[in-house]
Symmetry: C2
Subunit: 218 residues, 2 copies
DNA sequence: AATTTAACACACTGGAAACGTTTTTTGTGT
DNA sequence: ACACAAAAAACGTTTCCAGTGTGTTAAATT
């Protein structure tokens, strides 16, 4: 019974990716279950063999996203680079992710699937926080970050950075692009938590890192 | 009777602007007439004094957009700069406009309000074409554009540039940002239609123009 | 070849939500 | 106290859509 379900789930995973893309393109409410099954080239009946409701479908997508995200962070953590590099890579991905997030989708999630959405956000935040804590530890061990840091506070502040970057009117006063703002925030963070060695490393790498950001923009 | 209607329309115009913003933020289908009246701080009844249906409301927004757009082009045309500068300014605005256009809104317009949308697009295209023709004439008179141009063909090609810039996969092969692509296309166009004097002018101004584009990005 | 399984297309239903209208309430100016 | 306009609420109608059920076809299994 359970193995059967697992097999179904495995088969269904690539479809989840497709459906996610569809949602981003057309919106959630604009796609009914008929539309979705059509776009996938399967019958609605079959679709309902994988999910038990549309809400369940959304939940599955969140679950899938969470898994995918954990995998990404894990793979970056495994790379043979120091803490600053890792933090930058992950931060950049978070930032790119948020950029893609359309306000309409956000609205729909909050209005029609609030409990699911909150749960997802909470899990994601927890995961980011955990990853950041590991990063702080590593950075400290590597002598890049200061050893007298209040980890909880720093994590909270940095996560707030990443979230608030979009909603806020930071860019209004000074006319900054989001990318500019991101660079400044990252630099702010690194300088705030780093030892002299860390700052020196950052300054040496700064230009190349900035270039990475320009590349990622399209 | 007619004067009365005109008064109503005048009062309603700022609301159209607000509603447009709401649509961009929340989507069209996600906002019912109750929501809209609430957000405007008026009653649904009052809203229905201005429009006779939701479809009518969309039509009014298109109408309003068209008017606004004509006004923008008119004001740029009135400026005391040469044809190349004017073309750049208008092109930049078209480009910015398209960038803001969310794929979900596009989908909704096509699916639920196709006739209205097509009519709007047609009018807009006609207007852009007309403006470009004037620009070509002016540029030729100013000695910046060549005098042996096939206006119709050039207009068609350039308009296609602006439209296709987003849908297409131009950026896939070379990894170009949209802004980069826009710059290249504009330069391509100017060089293609200009006299030696025109090209010289463009080359002299090129850097400043590029800077403008960077400024506009946020 | 017969049977089972699985997927597809399509029709149907019940309930929820939206539209557009009408009625009631609220508030303001005279 | 009255008249009036706009807001709020209520209402009937219609549309939409999630979810289910039916019949058919095609492939796999026996």
């Amino acid at each position: 019974m359970d193995e059967e379900t697992d097999l179904l789930n495995q088969k269904f995973e690539p479809m989840l990716e497709q459906i996610k893309v569809l949602f981003f393109e057309f919106g959630i409410k604009n796609l009914n279950m008929d539309d979705i099954s059509h776009k996938l080239g399967i019958s609605k009946k079959t679709l309902y063999r994988f999910v038990k409701s549309k809400e369940d479908l959304i939940a599955r997508i969140f679950e899938y996203e969470q898994k995918r995200w954990v995998e990404v962070v894990r793979s970056i953590s495994a790379q043979e680079v120091n803490a600053i590099e890792k933090l930058f890579k992950v931060s950049l991905m978070v930032y790119e992710e948020m950029k893609r997030f359309n306000p309409i989708i956000l609205f729909e999630l909050r209005k029609y699937y609030e409990p699911l959405f909150l749960e997802y956000q909470e899990k994601k935040m927890a995961h980011v926080a955990l990853s950041m804590r590991l990063n702080l530890d590593n950075g400290t061990k590597e002598g890049l970050y200061r050893s007298d840091l209040n980890a909880d506070a720093i994590i909270a502040i940095y996560m707030n950075y990443l979230v608030e970057i979009h909603n806020s009117d930071y860019c209004k006063g000074a006319d900054l692009s989001f990318d500019e703002l991101f660079k400044i925030m990252f630099e702010q963070h690194i300088r705030a938590i780093s030892t002299a060695a860390g700052v020196a490393y950052f300054e040496a790498r700064k230009n190349e890192i900035t270039e990475l950001l320009n590349k990622s923009r399209n």
